[in-house]
């Protein structure tokens, strides 16, 4: 019993670093996201309101014994919120001594300190402080700005107070855009997943048998997946550029088309009487191209684990290759395909960079993740941004739940 305890203790010690970093950087922010989604936080609110103090020397050509006027400017940084208990300190030159200073201020050992109870929003005032130059005044060594005045104050912090509201959710659900974005996100995730799986299955079937150069092709097929997304996305944007791009110019030169196609800027194309989301389709092609290698690797590994005698037996029974594929290979792959489908779907659902880099969310490709970014940094509203993120979270949870109910279980596991 003692032994077991010791072992468990050791295990916990070994796991503490991992658990604590995961807690701090993953679980706590998730909680923070929910917290923020119930608060009306703007990007500007992240900087807590604080006193701003500036000083300016008003007198010139000072001789010992002269009066010196220093203008202090006190300002509340916030336009909307008051600040309380403002304490200001500033080191002043040892060559001057105070004559007339503002109420609430005092000078002690060359240190000016002030205290104010409250500054209203937009508080902004200039106060002239009168000093006198001492007898030992040296103009060369006198610099009123030698130290920066410092101020601290209390303010109501919107991030940590306990006021909550549902306004963010109201706002985003009232936007027509949100419903449209949910639709786009589902279309994008679903078809990009299907595309990646289809390409992955084909690629795996191609490299199933051993042949000369198989290793080379396997390495090659992983290129799109291991390369940095920014590089491949920029390359695609460049290839598809309507004027400078390769593809349009190639098609034009060979007279396949008569005018350039805006591959990444065509929201709708009339296709047999219904609106075909063209740019979304291109983005889905990109995603399938970029992520098929993952599906390929998994399916290839599973393919090579299928017992060979199944094929031998069916050969004797006279099954054709196509029948073998549909009646042996595919059912054997079903588990891994289902697993890949759910993983790929979730990851596509969460994808931000790819669409952001390709289209910036324009031309009918704004997914929820891009909406989060737009809300936060284009509209400067952290509150609504986190509520969209919460929406993503909830939709994902629903999807995973449904998948758990209906999906075939993975045979391997």
């Amino acid at each position: 019993m003692f032994n077991l305890n010791k072992e468990a203790k050791l295990a916990y010690t070994m796991l503490i670093p991992t658990i604590s970093i995961v807690f701090l950087i993953i679980l706590f922010p998730i909680f923070g996201n929910f917290w923020l989604s119930f608060k009306e936080v703007k990007l500007g609110d992240l900087r807590a309101p604080q006193p701003i103090i500036k000083e300016k020397l008003k007198t010139k050509d000072i001789e010992p014994g002269d009066d010196i006027l220093i203008e202090y400017r006190f300002k509340n940084s916030s336009q909307k919120k008051p600040i309380f208990n403002i304490e200001i300190t500033d080191k002043i030159s040892k060559f001057i001594s105070p004559v007339e200073i503002a109420e609430g201020c005092s000078v002690n050992n060359n240190l000016l300190s002030c205290y104010f109870e409250e500054w209203k929003p937009k508080y902004n005032e200039k106060i002239i402080f009168k000093f006198k130059a001492n007898d030992n005044f040296e103009i060369d060594n006198f610099n009123p700005k030698e130290s920066k005045p410092r101020g601290v104050a209390d303010a109501d912090n919107i991030l940590t107070n306990l006021k909550f509201s549902l306004k963010n959710f109201q706002k985003i659900l009232q936007k027509n855009e949100t419903i449209e974005n949910i639709k786009v996100t589902f279309l994008y995730s679903f078809f990009a997943t299907i595309g990646a799986l289809l390409l992955g299955i084909s690629a795996a079937l191609l490299l199933e048998k051993n042949f000369l150069g198989k290793g080379f092709f396997r390495g090659l097929f992983l290129f799109p997946f291991v390369s940095p997304v920014i590089a491949v996305a920029f390359t695609w944007v460049y290839i598809l550029d309507p004027f400078k791009g390769f593809l349009n110019n190639y098609l034009l030169n060979n007279e396949f088309i008569s005018e350039p196609i805006f591959f990444l800027g065509l929201k709708k194309v009339d296709f047999l009487g219904f609106d075909f989301p063209f740019t979304l389709f291109i983005v889905i092609l990109f995603e399938s191209w970029r992520y098929f290698p993952l599906a390929f690797l998994f399916i290839l590994a599973r393919l090579q684990a299928i017992p060979k005698d199944l094929y031998e037996a069916s050969d004797i029974d006279g099954a054709t290759r196509i029948q073998q594929f549909f009646y042996i290979t595919l059912p054997q792959l079903l588990g891994v395909i289902s697993l890949l489908f759910i993983l790929r779907f979730i990851w596509n659902f969460n994808k931000f960079e790819d669409i952001f880099l390709l289209t910036g969310g324009n031309a009918g490709t704004r997914t929820l993740t891009v909406q989060v970014y737009d809300e936060a940094f284009a509209l400067s509203n952290m509150g609504t941004a986190s509520s969209v993120a919460v929406l993503i979270f909830i939709l994902l949870a629903i999807f995973v739940f449904i998948h758990q109910k209906i999906a075939p279980k993975d045979i391997e596991e």
Partner: protein, 401 residues
């Protein structure tokens, strides 16, 4: 009779697709090397292939042995001269044309061998056809974007604007012209600084990930404690957490704490996202090491830590290597957090720098492509050197992307 009609139809169909693929590749090779116009007139492919199929069919019926292939080849070349080929070609391009037609004929003969010609089997020919063409197709769609990225980065602005379809590698440039975009990106856009930042962040991420995940993985794999199964399953759930859900609150928290705009912020966020993956991959490997080895060392009086250092770690070098590579690639390629957190140019990682400095209509495209090449090459090099480990690691860990 119906069989013959089918067969004719399939010869026609296969020849169109095969020829189209080969012609596009031939053209790309031709413009890559000789900087000249296209060889093929694509709109005539249908007509050409129809005539080709007729000849193929006729010759195969008259001559039933291998000799037929030679006739078909000669006729295909002759037909192509009349229908398919631009007349203004140079002597070198003839070589390409001949190799395209040799490949074309070899492939079609593979689908319709003289032996199986009289009793045509749809399935056999179709599978062969599918396999060959898919291999060509896959290689093409993968290589082409990378090749274009590379070639464009070598061009001058004038050449790029005048002829965007020019795929040739400009060998006739002097060395300094050849790499002019790279030199410009490095000198004008502070690229070395970005590269240094990326390198630091990536290495630190690898180091922290390993340092945290090795003991964690060992505990999950080998030690008995309450909550062990919960930990392994919750790792999988952490895989699913969207980065975008983390980025807003982390932005807020880091802004408040004052370390948002720094490399330090990336150095704690990246490991947090990679540690669960690393832990999952490593614990799978640790479980595969025979426990008897460790047990005997324990009985001989070695401590747990001693066992890990002397037995487990030396045995799992391949796994640690693949985890390190994988984590390095994630950190090197990462864009979202770098994009959100970093404001100051001096802290930019390469993806962040590329996005702000080079993705601008004012900046010539070849600079953007040169930057893209420079961020891609280290990853692909590492990948090629350690491919064996990486592929193993990718499948073992059911890995995120």
């Amino acid at each position: 009779m119906t069989n013959n009609i089918y067969q004719f139809f399939f010869i026609y169909l296969y020849s169109i697709i095969t020829l189209f693929l080969l012609a596009v590749i031939g053209d790309f090779v031709s413009i890559s090397i000789f900087l000249s116009k296209n060889i093929f007139i694509y709109k005539n492919i249908f007509l050409y292939c129809f005539l080709y199929a007729v000849c193929f069919f006729a010759i195969r019926i008259i001559i039933t042995n291998q000799v037929s292939n030679i006739f078909i080849f000669i006729i295909s070349l002759a037909l192509s001269y009349f229908f398919l080929i631009n007349k203004e070609i140079n002597a070198y391009q003839i070589l390409i044309i001949i190799s395209v037609f040799i490949a074309f004929n070899l492939l079609l003969q593979k689908y319709f061998t003289a032996k199986n010609f009289s009793n045509f089997l749809f399935e056999v020919s179709f599978l062969k056809f599918l396999k060959t063409n898919s291999l060509i197709f896959f290689s093409f769609i993968i290589i082409f974007p990378f090749y274009l990225m590379f070639v464009s980065s070598l061009k001058s602005q004038m050449v790029l604007l005048q002829n965007p379809t020019d795929l040739s590698i400009p060998f006739f440039y002097s060395i300094s012209d050849f790499f002019s975009s790279y030199i410009a990106v490095i000198t004008q856009y502070n690229f070395l600084n970005f590269a240094l930042n990326s390198t630091i962040v990536s290495f630190v991420t690898v180091f922290i990930s390993l340092f945290f995940s090795i003991p964690g993985a060992y505990a999950v794999a080998r030690l008995r404690f309450a909550g062990r199964s919960k930990i392994s399953s919750s790792i999988l759930i952490i895989y699913m957490v969207p980065a975008i859900v983390l980025v807003i609150p982390l932005y807020v928290i880091f802004s408040q704490l004052g370390f948002r705009n720094s490399l330090f912020s990336l150095m704690i966020v990246y490991p947090a996202t990679t540690i669960p993956v690393a832990l999952y991959m490593l614990q799978g490997y640790f479980k595969g090491i025979p426990y008897e080895l460790e047990e005997s060392a324990l009985i001989d009086g070695c401590s747990r830590i001693g066992v890990i250092l002397r037995i487990t770690l030396p045995l799992s070098v391949p796994a640690i290597l693949s985890v390190s590579l994988y984590v390095f690639m994630i950190a090197w390629n990462e864009f979202l957090f770098a994009f959100m957190f970093l404001d100051n140019q001096e802290y930019f990682t390469i993806p962040r720098g590329l996005y702000t400095q080079l993705d601008d209509q004012e900046v010539p495209r070849q600079y953007l492509m040169a930057g893209s090449v420079m961020i891609t090459v280290p990853v692909l090099l590492l990948f090629f050197i350690f491919e064996r480990y990486l592929v193993g690691g990718l499948t073992a860990g059911s890995v995120k992307g």
